[in-house]
């Protein structure tokens, strides 16, 4: 395994009774990156994470986290990682502050200033008994305990569920900071803005296997661009052009979904372009396509290219990554 990967999974399988939860999953997370882990509910995200933590034993395949086999050397591995589940469960009769400290001690202690700074940043009242905390406050306790830890790898499973937008912003800041400190993050999330802002690369899981992996720009590359044009004359054969997947005509206005531009641009030019808008796929479109029932139908190519962002991506993304 190359040292640059903090998580390296290949061919991972896990079934619960007759349900195949993971069906030959491959996943690689590089050192120092924030890796988005996306997929519809029930796709196998949490199962994957529980295998990575050594809570579940895989039926087949290999998992390597920071050079450890998570099943056989869970405790040693956990010295170097921190984890926040999507639904942080706490002991109802302890206070938030106590829980943060106890979990910190299990890791051999942490910098109290860092803990206090995080408590202040997340605006948590550490004196309240855990049973009085709302969902968002319980998530804060989990996040503070994880972020205060001196961990190389953060595994976050939908960590911001229940947080208000203000705290969501604090969370994003904290993850960006962790990344600057050289930590690696596996972030499972349904919050698209979070993914777009934070993630260097994403992997999309569906039915227990990775259907796509790469930078957001690369993934956008795989999805049709939408082209709207007002033409002098509407040519009759637009739908038959190579690279065009759907055509709507409304008088002189046409809306096309385009995978390859070569033939289309020529045809439009010949038809006399009065106005032209080319929009990259939105994140929503992108994910709906991969989450949908038949991503293969859309012609998704097999494994995405690995490597730095491909130059010349078709259109600028909203945040210009």
């Amino acid at each position: 395994m190359p040292v640059s990967n903090v998580i390296s999974i290949s061919g991972l399988r896990k079934s619960f009774g007759r349900t195949q939860a993971l069906d030959g999953l491959d996943l690689r997370v590089r050192r120092g990156e924030v890796h988005g882990f996306l997929g519809p509910n029930g796709a196998g995200k949490s199962t994957t994470i529980r295998v990575l933590l050594g809570l579940l034993k895989a039926d087949g395949g290999r998992a390597d986290v920071l050079g450890y086999d998570p099943w056989h050397r869970a405790a040693e591995l956990h010295r170097h990682l921190a984890y926040v589940p999507g639904d942080v469960a706490l002991w109802p009769n302890l206070t938030g502050g106590e829980i943060i400290d106890v979990l910190g001690r299990f890791r051999g202690g942490f910098d109290p200033r860092r803990r206090d700074a995080l408590i202040e940043r997340f605006e948590l009242d550490p004196r309240k008994k855990a049973r009085t905390y709302s969902k968002g406050n319980r998530q804060k306790v989990g996040l503070i305990a994880a972020l205060a830890a001196d961990a190389e790898l953060l595994i976050l499973d939908e960590p911001t569920s229940g947080l208000d937008p203000l705290m969501e912003a604090v969370f994003k800041e904290s993850v960006a900071e962790a990344r600057r400190e050289g930590r690696s993050v596996l972030l499972s999330s349904h919050v698209l803005s979070e993914v777009e802002e934070l993630c260097d690369r994403v992997s999309i899981i569906r039915s227990g296997r990775i259907v796509e992996s790469g930078t957001l720009a690369e993934l956008r590359h795989l999805t049709a661009t939408s082209v709207t044009a007002t033409l002098a004359t509407v040519p009759p054969d637009l739908a038959g052009l190579p690279g065009v997947s759907s055509v709507e005509v409304d008088g002189h206005r046409v809306r096309l979904r385009v995978d390859a531009f070569d033939a289309v641009l020529g045809a439009l030019e010949r038809a006399g372009v009065r106005s032209l808008t080319v929009a990259p796929p939105t994140l929503e479109e992108l994910f709906l396509r991969f989450y949908g029932a038949h991503p293969e139908d859309a012609g998704a190519p097999a494994p995405a290219p690995e490597g730095p962002d491909a130059p010349g991506t078709p259109a600028p993304t909203r945040n210009g990554r």
Partner: protein, 524 residues
């Protein structure tokens, strides 16, 4: 909105969720009560045998303390006497737990809010769960009355026996309702309800064994004692208990109009950070268990003192000693009584140990275990924390029981040596308690989903074993199956260390096997 909106649909939900639970618990209670009645005729077949049995029983402080006196030396009279304690316990706990489960526990699980958003009145869950508990209790006790009548028992007595059992169950349903509304957590509510049952039942036992009729007024179980089905046939105490139940339900309804999720007492703020401890998984397990353990230690210390106090007066009052279920027999009734009560209470202490071990499953499925297991703590160290608490906790509880016994005995007799003797009588049973804790640990490693139910079933079977032996269903040799009967029955007889060492060795092996299995399985 009307306080009882949605009663029908909620009632159906309760019945749907609890159909197996209710059928099992109440059905088994009815079967047990009727089955024992059917067997009495064979156990004591003649009038002379029955008269002798009643005579002997009423002279045994242990029997009088645990169950009460036999009022009628007929088959029917002995039958109703034999099960009256069991019926009060089974029906009372079933009623209280049913109410708590659908009110306080539902709030904790969060589904109460889900339903609250639907059209549901403030008092609907309370009313529906109370109706379910009372309905099931009524069905059970009606079946008992029908069963008694079918066995040829007198009609009036059969009806009153059923009414007496119903009143005992209904009373605890009321207590459960108040506890559910007053306590902030379901654990607290269960603890409160069980505590009330234990104290009031012990008051009845004390009054009976020590011959203090005035004390009977302090406990509804004492009131019900004078119903005396098949003897005095007095129905008035039943009405009195039902009136008290109605008052309790009214109080619960008043409390129930508070905010959803709020307890009677507001939650106080705690410390902003951890103190010097807990430092590791064992410390955390102790920290989480401290309140429960302290309550157990205090309660068992008090029970020990109570038993010792009763033993003294009972021995003076009652001449001669009855055989104690073939378990303990000695010329002196007082140590024999203490030995028998210590035998029973060792099994009560075991409840704490099993509860603590199988609580791991709740932490596992509830997601709290993840907090610890995602830290550099192996799963064996995590589970070991609860096991250490269970083993040392049961030792502390037994020690408190022995100390309670010993202090009162030493004060009464003036012999300081009684303290050590009573502590020994409690602690000598610890290996049996640990064996059951180890069984729970093994079950948790092997079959986590049913570990709690299975472990408590084993304990319940051992608890009933003594009853089955007494009724002649099984020979007294079968009692040897029970680790609680295997250990020396101090303060009667010699202190043989071998059985304890053997049981401890078996317990260690079972724990090791459980650990091995836990390491190999998935955690939820």
């Amino acid at each position: 909105m009307d306080a009882l909106t949605g009663l029908g649909p909620f009632l159906r939900l309760v019945l749907r969720r609890d159909r197996v639970r209710l059928t099992l618990w109440f059905g088994l209670a009815a079967l047990l009560i009727i089955g024992i009645a059917a067997s009495i005729g064979a156990v004591v077949p003649t009038d002379e045998a029955r008269a002798a049995y009643a005579e002997e029983t009423n002279r045994s402080p242990a029997e009088v303390f645990m169950i009460g006196r036999i009022n009628s030396a007929t088959v029917a009279g002995i039958a109703v006497w034999r099960v009256q304690g069991l019926a009060a316990l089974l029906l009372g706990l079933a009623g209280a737990f049913t109410v708590i489960r659908h009110t306080r526990t539902a709030v904790e699980d969060g589904y109460r809010e889900l339903l609250g958003a639907a059209a549901l009145g403030r008092l609907t869950p309370l009313a529906a769960s109370v109706a379910t508990a009372l309905g099931a209790t009524l069905a059970t006790t009606a079946a008992v009355t029908a069963g008694y009548a079918a066995l040829g028992f007198p009609a009036t007595g059969s009806v009153l026996a059923g009414a007496q059992f119903f009143a005992a169950g209904a009373f605890m349903t009321g207590v459960g309702a108040v506890a559910a509304m007053a306590a902030a957590t379901s654990r607290g509510a269960v603890g409160l309800a069980v505590g009330v049952l234990a104290v009031l039942y012990a008051v009845r036992g004390t009054a009976d064994a020590a011959g203090l009729p005035a004390l009977h007024r302090a406990s509804p179980y004492g009131w019900l004692r004078s119903v005396q089905p098949f003897a005095a046939d007095d129905g008035r105490p039943v009405l009195l208990v039902l009136a008290l139940t109605a008052a309790l339900l009214g109080a619960a309804a008043l409390l129930g109009t508070r905010d959803v999720g709020g307890g009677l007492l507001p939650e106080r703020d705690g410390r902003p950070g951890a103190g010097r401890w807990p430092r590791g998984p064992v410390g955390l397990a102790f920290r989480l268990n401290a309140g429960t353990l302290a309550a157990w230690v205090a309660a068992m210390g008090v029970f020990g003192a109570l038993v010792a106090a009763v033993a003294g007066s009972a021995a003076r009052q009652l001449a001669g000693g009855g055989a104690l279920s073939g378990l303990v027999s000695g010329p002196d009734p007082e140590p024999a009584f203490i030995a028998f009560v210590a035998y029973v209470f060792a099994q009560v202490t075991t409840v704490y140990g099993i509860h603590t071990v199988v609580g791991l499953r709740g932490d596992e499925t509830g997601g709290r275990a993840e907090n610890v297991l995602a830290a550099p703590v192996s799963r064996l160290r995590w589970a070991g924390g609860a096991l250490v608490v269970a083993l040392t906790g049961t030792a502390l509880i037994q020690l408190a029981f022995g100390a309670g016994l010993g202090v009162v005995r030493a004060a009464a007799t003036g012999e300081a040596g009684q303290l050590a003797a009573m502590a020994a009588a409690a602690l000598v049973r610890l290996p049996a308690v640990w064996l059951l804790v180890a069984v729970a640990a093994l079950l948790y490693g092997a079959v986590p989903r049913i570990a709690g139910a299975a472990a408590f079933t084993v304990l319940g079977f051992l608890f009933l074993l003594e009853l089955l032996v007494e009724l002649g269903f099984v020979g007294s040799g079968v009692l040897a199956l029970s680790p609680y009967a295997r250990v020396p029955q101090l303060p009667v007889g010699p202190a043989d260390p071998v059985p304890g060492l053997v049981l401890t060795g078996i317990a260690a092996a079972l724990i090791a096997a459980g650990a091995l299995l836990l390491r190999r399985r998935d955690l939820r």
